[in-house]
C-alpha cells in the first residue's frame, strides 16, 4: 500500500494530475482536533478575501468540496466531501501556511488501485509517497 507522509508533502499539485485514476485517489483529510476553527480560514478562503461568505470568488477549493458548519462563536466545523475532492492540495497549502495544518493530503485507500508502483510516487517532488504496511494505511494528524 502507498501513503503520503503529510510532514513531507509540499502540495506541488501533482497528486491531482499524476494518479492513474482520472480523478485522483488522493483526497484532502481534515484533522478536527488540530484545527483552530477560525472564521478566516486559510484553507477555506482565498488569500486577500474580502467578504467571509461562500461566494465562488472567495473560496479556495475549486470544486467546492470543503463545507463548514457553524458550531459556536467563533468556531466552525470543517468537512470535506471526498466525492468532489480532486486532490489538488490548494486548501492544504493555504492551511499549512496560515493555519495549524489540520488539512492534509492522503491516499484514500478504498479508491486507490494499489498499483505495484504508485505513479505519483515517482514524480512526487519531496518523496513523500512511500510504501506502508496495510495496518498503517493512513498517516493521520489527529491525536497529536
Amino acid at each position: 500500500m502507498w501513503q503520503i507522509d503529510p510532514e513531507k508533502c509540499l502540495q506541488c499539485g501533482r497528486c491531482q494530475t499524476e494518479c492513474v485514476l482520472s480523478v485522483s485517489a488522493v483526497k484532502c483529510f481534515h484533522a478536527n482536533q488540530v484545527c483552530g476553527y477560525c472564521d478566516l480560514c486559510g484553507g477555506y478562503y482565498r488569500a486577500n478575501v474580502k467578504e467571509l461568505n461562500t461566494a465562488a470568488e472567495n473560496m479556495m477549493c475549486p470544486t467546492g468540496a470543503i463545507t463548514r458548519l457553524f458550531v459556536e462563536e467563533p468556531y466552525f466545523e470543517y468537512t470535506i466531501d471526498e466525492s468532489l475532492c480532486n486532490g489538488c492540495g490548494k486548501c492544504v497549502k493555504g492551511c499549512s501556511s496560515f493555519g495549524n495544518g489540520s488539512l492534509f493530503l492522503q491516499i484514500q485507500q478504498e479508491l486507490c488501485l494499489n498499483c505495484n508502483e504508485c505513479k505519483i510516487s515517482k514524480v512526487c517532488v519531496s518523496g513523500a509517497i512511500q510504501r506502508v504496511p496495510v495496518r498503517q494505511g493512513y498517516k493521520l494528524k489527529d491525536h497529536a
Binding site: L10, G36, Y37, V71, N100, N114, N116, S126
Partner: protein, 406 residues
C-alpha cells in the same frame, strides 16, 4: 521566551456548547482477503488448466479460464500485482533490506514458475490476464516468418534486463510503467499507453499473442523453465498422423513440422560453427556487460536523485524553475548530500549494468548456439519453450476427434 516554533499557530478551541468532535472513519479495503483470494484463484486456475491440458485435452476449459481471468484479475482487480511485475519486487527485495517483500508477491512470482517446471506454461494459457485478453481477441492467425519471430524473441530478454537494472537501482518499475493492458483494464491511464495497448490488441486479432512472444519478460523466464518441464504438452495422446492441421492452428507457431536432417552443409562446417559460438559465448557476455556499463551514466537519469541533480545543473529564471528544483530548495536539502547520493546511484548503476549486459550477451550467445544445432524430427512436435498451452491444437487433431466420436 523563544518557544512555540511549530505548526500550532492557533490554540485549539474551547467549546462551551458541548460540541463533540465528529467521528471520522477512513475506509480501508479488505485487502488481505482479496490478496489471498487472488492466490487461491491463481493456484486453482493453474491447476485447472494443467488438468485440462494434460489429462483431458480440452480447449473449452482453458478458454473459460481465460474469460474468468480477464474479468477477475483484469477488470476487477485491475491487474496489480501480477507475476510479470513481481520480478521487480523480487529484485528490489534482494538488493534493498528496507523493502520487505510481501509474501503474496513472492507467491505470484514463484507459483507460475513451479507449475511451469511440472506442466509447462499453464500460467500463460489463460491465468495471466494479459495473455488471456490476447487469447480472447485472437480470431484468425496469419503466420509471420519464423526467422523473424525467432530474432524478435530476443526482445523480452532486453526488456527483462532493463527491468532488473532499474529495479535493482531503485529507480523505476518499468514493467509496470509500460504495461500495455493495465490501462485498458482500468479504463484510464496514459494516452500513449492506451494507444499502445489498443494497437497490440488489434494486432493480436490476426497474430497470436504478440505481447507474450515479443515483449513479456516473465514469459522469457517461463520459456527457460518450461523447456525442462517434466510433463510436456502434447497435441494428442495417440500417434501423430502428420496431417499438419495442428501446425496451422497454433497461434504462437510452437509446433514444429517433421524434418529430415539433410543439410547441404558438410558436418565439419556445422561443428566448427557451434564450437565458434561456444567460444564466442564468454566474449559476448563480457562485451554485453562492457557495452551496457558504458551507458550506465546516461541510463542513471531514470533515478530521481540523478534527475534532480541534472536539473540543478541549469540556471533558472524565477518563473520557469521546475517544481523539483523548487522543492529541493524548499526542503533545504544540501547539494553535497545529493551529490553523494548521485555518486552512489551511478556506482550501483554501473555494477548492475555490467551484470545485466552480461546476461543479455549470454542469452544472445546461447540463442545462436541453439540455432546452430540440427535436430531430426519424425512427427509434429511441440516446442515446449514456445508453447503457451492454449490448447487450440487439441480440437484440430483428427486423432482427438476420433477419440470423442468413440
Amino acid at each position: 521566551m523563544l518557544n512555540l516554533l511549530g505548526v500550532a499557530r492557533f490554540p485549539k478551541p474551547d467549546f462551551t456548547s458541548g460540541y463533540q468532535y465528529p467521528e471520522i472513519v477512513h475506509g480501508m479495503p479488505w485487502e488481505s482477503f482479496w490478496v489471498w483470494l487472488d492466490v487461491v484463484l491463481l493456484v486453482g486456475m493453474m491447476s485447472l488448466v494443467a488438468w485440462a491440458v494434460h489429462r483431458r485435452p480440452s480447449r473449452k476449459i482453458i478458454f473459460s479460464v481465460s474469460i474468468v481471468s480477464v474479468l477477475y484479475f483484469g477488470f476487477f482487480r485491475t491487474g496489480c500485482v501480477c507475476s510479470i511485475g513481481s520480478i521487480q519486487n523480487v529484485v528490489l527485495a534482494l538488493v534493498d533490506n528496507n523493502y520487505r517483500l510481501p509474501f503474496v508477491v513472492l507467491l505470484f512470482f514463484l507459483l507460475p514458475l513451479l507449475f511451469a517446471i511440472f506442466f509447462g506454461r499453464v500460467f500463460c494459457a489463460g491465468v495471466c490476464p494479459m495473455g488471456a485478453l490476447q487469447e480472447l481477441v485472437n480470431v484468425r492467425n496469419f503466420r509471420i516468418s519464423r526467422a523473424v519471430a525467432s530474432a524478435l524473441s530476443f526482445f523480452p530478454w532486453i526488456y527483462l534486463g532493463f527491468a532488473i537494472l532499474y529495479a535493482a537501482t531503485r529507480s523505476q518499475f518499468i514493467i509496470c510503467r509500460f504495461d500495455p493492458f493495465i490501462p485498458i483494464f482500468r479504463l484510464s491511464g496514459d494516452v500513449g499507453m492506451i494507444v499502445f495497448g489498443v494497437s497490440l490488441l488489434v494486432i493480436s486479432i490476426f497474430i497470436g499473442r504478440p505481447f507474450c512472444r515479443f515483449l513479456c519478460p516473465y514469459g522469457a523466464i517461463l520459456s527457460v523453465v518450461s523447456s525442462v518441464a517434466t510433463k510436456r504438452v502434447e497435441v494428442t495422446k495417440k500417434s501423430c498422423i502428420n496431417c499438419m492441421l495442428c501446425h496451422n492452428a497454433c497461434p504462437v507457431d510452437a509446433i514444429r513440422e517433421p524434418y529430415a536432417n539433410k543439410v547441404g552443409e558438410s558436418r565439419m562446417v556445422g561443428v566448427r560453427r557451434v564450437l565458434l559460438y561456444i567460444m564466442l559465448l564468454p566474449l559476448l557476455t563480457i562485451g554485453g556487460g562492457w557495452l551496457l556499463s558504458s551507458q550506465s551514466d546516461t541510463l542513471s537519469i531514470a533515478h530521481r536523485d540523478v534527475y534532480l541533480y541534472t536539473l540543478l545543473q541549469n540556471n533558472y529564471e524565477d518563473k520557469n524553475m521546475p517544481t523539483e528544483v523548487e522543492a529541493f530548495y524548499e526542503m533545504g536539502r544540501s547539494i553535497d548530500e545529493l551529490e553523494t547520493s548521485v555518486m552512489s546511484v551511478r556506482e550501483s548503476f554501473n555494477r548492475w549494468a555490467w551484470f545485466v549486459g552480461a546476461l543479455m550477451g549470454f542469452v544472445l550467445g546461447w540463442k545462436l548456439i541453439r540455432l546452430s544445432v540440427k535436430r531430426t524430427r519424425k512427427t509434429y512436435e511441440i516446442e515446449p519453450s514456445a508453447c503457451v498451452a492454449c490448447g487450440k491444437c487439441f480440437n484440430y487433431c483428427p486423432q482427438n476427434i476420433s477419440v470423442k466420436n468413440e
